[in-house]
Symmetry: C2
Subunit: 302 residues, 2 copies
């Protein structure tokens, strides 16, 4: 399968299936208890169900294709990553952080509920990620599960996503250069994207030294994803995006677009996508979904 059309069809089919699976799994995991904790579960459901591109769970499935990882295992890992991604959005949207009122076309959690509930709902989704990974439904081998826990904790903590968010908080008026913005984004979005691909290799017991090309793929699509995000922030449609746009420029933050200009940023994103796909040269059709995701990342409109 080489044509752009068939790859688009492939990604559309798989993305729809993954999104439905993720929603269904969250629905089962987050049944609302009949006590004063109900509000907490309602907030977790509002945050976790029925929104987003589910790019990260799709990436786990796509990387799983390379090693014949079962759809069930890949779904559970994708669910755990999505827990981390969603918790980080809930906390990042808080008034003390990015202060956003809308997310995925709906009120953010602190708007729909209140700030205290948003903080706690984020914290609980954070726990849920590790609870999901630790369960034997995710993988029969406890060694694999503990390696997944270790890798996810590293990707989401101060040496990963949260460290990137800390840098982002300081970006306002700090005049970061291209190297610093790249480092920031490799942490803030790249670390978790890297985990998605790495998780499949962990489940397949592929030794770390044999994962170099996969890590290269993840690094390149992670940066391409962020450049595309920066372009959407400048040129995108807020209604399609379901959130406020143009915020980086308003806050005086340097981005790939402010540093490179629109044209060079777009070229750079396309270059990264080609480079990402080149990392997959040793694979055949089993890597088609990974290739399709790389293309999708710069073609998306939200």
């Amino acid at each position: 399968m080489e044509g752009g059309t068939s790859r688009k069809a492939l990604i559309a089919t798989r993305a729809v299936a993954v999104a439905a699976d993720v929603d269904h799994a969250f629905d089962l995991l987050l049944s609302v208890p009949g006590d004063p904790r109900a509000r907490l579960y309602e907030a977790m459901r509002h945050a976790a169900i029925g929104g987003g591109k589910r790019l990260r769970p799709l990436l786990v499935q796509a990387a799983g294709d390379l090693f014949n990882i079962s759809r069930e295992s890949a779904l559970r890992v994708g669910l755990a990553v999505e827990c981390i991604h969603v918790y980080s959005l809930v906390h990042d949207d808080l008034p003390a952080m990015d202060d956003d009122d809308m997310r995925r076309g709906r009120p953010t959690i602190h708007k729909a509920f209140d700030e205290a509930t948003a903080i706690l709902a984020g914290d609980c989704l954070h726990d849920l990620a590790f609870e999901v990974l630790a369960d034997e439904q995710t993988h029969a081998d406890p060694f694999v599960r503990i390696e997944l826990v270790k890798a996810l904790a590293l990707s989401s903590g101060p040496a990963g996503m949260a460290g990137g968010q800390m840098m982002d908080l300081q970006a306002e008026g700090a005049s970061f250069d291209l190297a610093t913005v790249t480092r920031l984004q490799q942490l803030k979005t790249g670390a978790l994207i890297g985990f998605c691909v790495d998780a499949a290799a962990i489940m397949a017991r592929i030794p770390p030294e044999a994962r170099v090309s996969l890590h290269g793929y993840a690094r390149d699509i992670g940066l391409a994803f962020q450049i595309a995000d920066d372009l959407l922030d400048v040129e995108g449609d807020a209604a399609l995006a379901g959130k406020a746009l143009g915020k980086d420029a308003a806050a005086g933050k340097e981005t790939f677009v402010s540093l490179l200009g629109v044209e060079r940023a777009r070229e750079q994103a396309c270059l990264l996508v080609e480079q990402a796909k080149a990392h997959l040269h040793a694979f055949g059709g089993e890597a088609d979904l990974l290739r399709a995701i790389a293309d999708y990342i710069v073609e998306r409109d939200r």
Copy 2:
């Protein structure tokens, strides 16, 4: 060893050693990087180092005594629990939650730094708990480590500590009865205390059905601890406690003291401590630290 004096000496010696070990371990784990994430690590250090009774790490050591768990393994598990405990304090102190300015005699994290940094520092300590548990330094057997991760995620999430905090947020003016306050506290403080004791049994591969008396001990000291806290909130010395007191009454929240009165609350706490120690009747001197902790819980002045 039966006398009160020798038990007090025992707890003093072990508590000092555990507190020093925990501080030293946090110091090593949280070395400050030379980049814009420095502020995040400084905030984590401010929250995690040099404060608190370290009751939870001490409990892990005490339960570990029953099964000859190595001091190193018990320390690592205690460190993970303390990460969760400290993260929860950082988030609970936020203006949107309990809005506290002082903790352990020092400014709270959002006062010493800012709210965004406090949210992120809490999130990062949350990750650190699972990173510590997942590391092979904690225990050689990956099955044991994954069981620890599972148990900790359950104790800290919506079915444990965070669920209790959600109930606590709704306690204001809700006129909770004794059964509801008991349930709230079993979640808010009891779940994590239960984990401390359970963790030792997990490391010793004691089957769940053989942990009944240990769970009874944990449940009883957990409630006694909370009643003692409620008594300190009414009668304690804010300077010794290192935080504001009298907050529950001011907020119109029902507590064990408001529902039972001071005298009956104190009697109930002592009864629970005796009951907790009775659960340990099958153990000999190896349970002396657990017994000493039960006594300490109602005798402490902070």
